[in-house]
Amino acid sequence: MSAGRNADSPQHRALLRNLLPGLMRGLLPGVARDLTRKIDNFLQAHWRGLTISVPFLWLLVFFLVPFFIVLKISLAESLIASPPFSPLTEWAEDGALRVRLLFDNFAYLWEDKLYVETYLNSLKISGISTAFCLLIGYPIAYGIVRAASPAKHILLLLIILPFWTSFLLRVYAWMGILADQGTINNILIWAGLIERPVRLLYSEFAVYVGIVYSYLPFMILPLYASMEKLDMTLNEAASDLGAHPAVTFLTVTLPLTVPGIIAGSLLVFIPATGEFVIPDLLGGGNVLMIGKVLYGEFNANRDWPVAAAVAIALLVVLVAPMMLYQHFQSGESSRGAGKGA
């Protein structure tokens, strides 16, 4: 800097030589301090807005907007091109914007009996699986709540542990159990109960087993959470007043755990309806479920508008249970916040 090209006169150079250290010593830290204070003030004033807007924008762009794109493409026409669907809007010759909406894809779904049957079958399979999860999960959750303290934590950990291992591999485990040469058939043949293997894998039965097995922890945890809040003195009061244990259960315990039952059932029912891995690996070609059809339309047939229409139709079916789940979630959290305050 002292040998600067534009510093031509000695005075100029002297000035610079005196000024520069001064600048360094006095002004720059001042500027830096000023800047950090400005940044600090900005953050102090706007950090709430920033904290809200970053995840908000992320979810808006990567979660909400995609649904509108799916809706748009479900109304397009399938083309052999890249991308393989027609544009919805095009500029006509007279310069006016013309919008083409096609409901053909939805009409196709409705008219093809196979799709309607697949929808109904998915709802049936996931509904029955949810009922089984509840029947199996309720006593387990109650047993955990009633267990003594150290055992309780270990049991709870054992319920959560499968979450941390691979879902795919846990479904795969049942392929080995249910196969024609699998564990169950081997045991039955060894015991002399059957002579030839029974067909268990690639059946609707296998899909039920897979869904109940994979989603059982999702049922147990909300049930446990609602039971943990139970006031056991109510049960004691009921039995002191002479109520039969079964009556106490039906009139006291069960009604108080309804929020847990609803949350757990929705957590099983909604994702199970659109399940792909379980019907694919355990149901093979013999079980029709809508998630598998959607994956096939997208992956094998490359018919994206139909895949999008299938997705929208599935969403329409599930929107009511999802709203219910949302309603319960927000109710729980506002009650939780009220307790914390």
Partner: protein, 276 residues
């Protein structure tokens, strides 16, 4: 009363057996010499050897781990912001939309999330020229989107269970809001954020469906590789892989449990010392 507790006890035994026998069988069959997975042909480690020498497995494991670490870090950041917003900021415009978008990914069928993100990436590519190819980046973005919702749930439940006295005291003593945030709220929240990070990490390692939708040619994550191998039948090398994963998780959980226990004991000791 006695009768009911035997009923509950047998329900617990049945439940644990139902949850864990399939996993035990996975482990047992991984040491089977026979190629036919459930038909015992003697003890052998051959499937572990073939697993460790498979370059395909190592490549997809590396890709999955990279995606999982980046995903967990960003999801924890965004999820903590979101959890703070829900638990501490009260009402603001768009709160209903925000909570809706946060809880929907928890129950949304994976095929729908996967398809919608794929179509978003294609549309963005047409409009902006980005992303020009699908693979690691698009899978990571997709994973962050659903993982952040899980992190937000953990953070939010921890915050609503946490008394606000300390934060209020710090504010009353003249702490600026951001200072209170960094010095009081976030340190108290750290265990929740760690739990969120670990959950986001495992969710990402586990995901098959969404990754299959938004991945492009060449980018095969570990679950995609496993799926392509097992969809046509049983594969003993996958049993070996499952065994390794189950043991890693079990050791990790045991270690975490031991650390928590030690921490709690230490705290109890400190309390005794303080009161003595």
């Amino acid at each position: 009363m006695k009768k009911r507790s035997t009923f509950l006890f047998s329900a617990l035994c049945f439940g644990m057996a139902f949850l864990y026998i399939p996993m035990v069988l996975l482990v047992v069959y991984s040491f089977n010499h026979s190629r036919l997975v459930p038909v015992w042909g003697g003890f052998s480690l051959r499937w572990y050897k073939s697993l460790f020498t498979s370059e395909e497995i190592w490549n997809s494991l590396l890709l999955s781990l990279q995606i999982a670490v980046v995903n967990a870090t960003f999801a924890t950041l965004l999820g903590t912001f979101a959890g703070l917003t829900i638990a501490r900021f009260g009402r603001f415009r768009g709160r209903t939309l925000f909570t809706g978008m946060l809880s929907a990914p928890l129950v949304m069928p994976e095929v729908i999330t996967g398809l919608s993100l794929l179509l978003l990436f294609i549309t963005l590519n047409e409009l902006l020229g980005w992303p020009s190819s699908r693979g690691m980046t698009t899978i990571t973005i997709a994973h962050i989107t659903f993982s952040l919702a899980y992190v937000a749930v953990i953070v939010q439940s921890r915050l609503s269970g946490m008394a606000q006295d300390l934060e209020e005291a710090a504010q009353d003593l003249g702490g600026k809001p951001l200072r209170v945030m960094f010095d009081i709220t976030l340190p108290l929240l750290a265990p929740g954020m760690l739990a969120g990070w670990l959950l986001a990490f495992t969710l990402s390692l586990d995901d098959l469906v969404i990754a299959s939708f938004v991945s492009g040619p060449g980018a095969n994550t570990l679950p995609m590789l496993i799926y392509s191998r097992v969809r046509l039948g049983l594969r003993p090398d996958i049993n070996a892989l499952a065994t390794i994963i189950i043991f890693t998780v079990a050791v990790g959980v045991a270690l975490a449990g031991w650390l928590l226990l030690r921490q709690r004991k230490q705290r109890e000791r400190d309390m005794r010392m303080a009161s003595a």
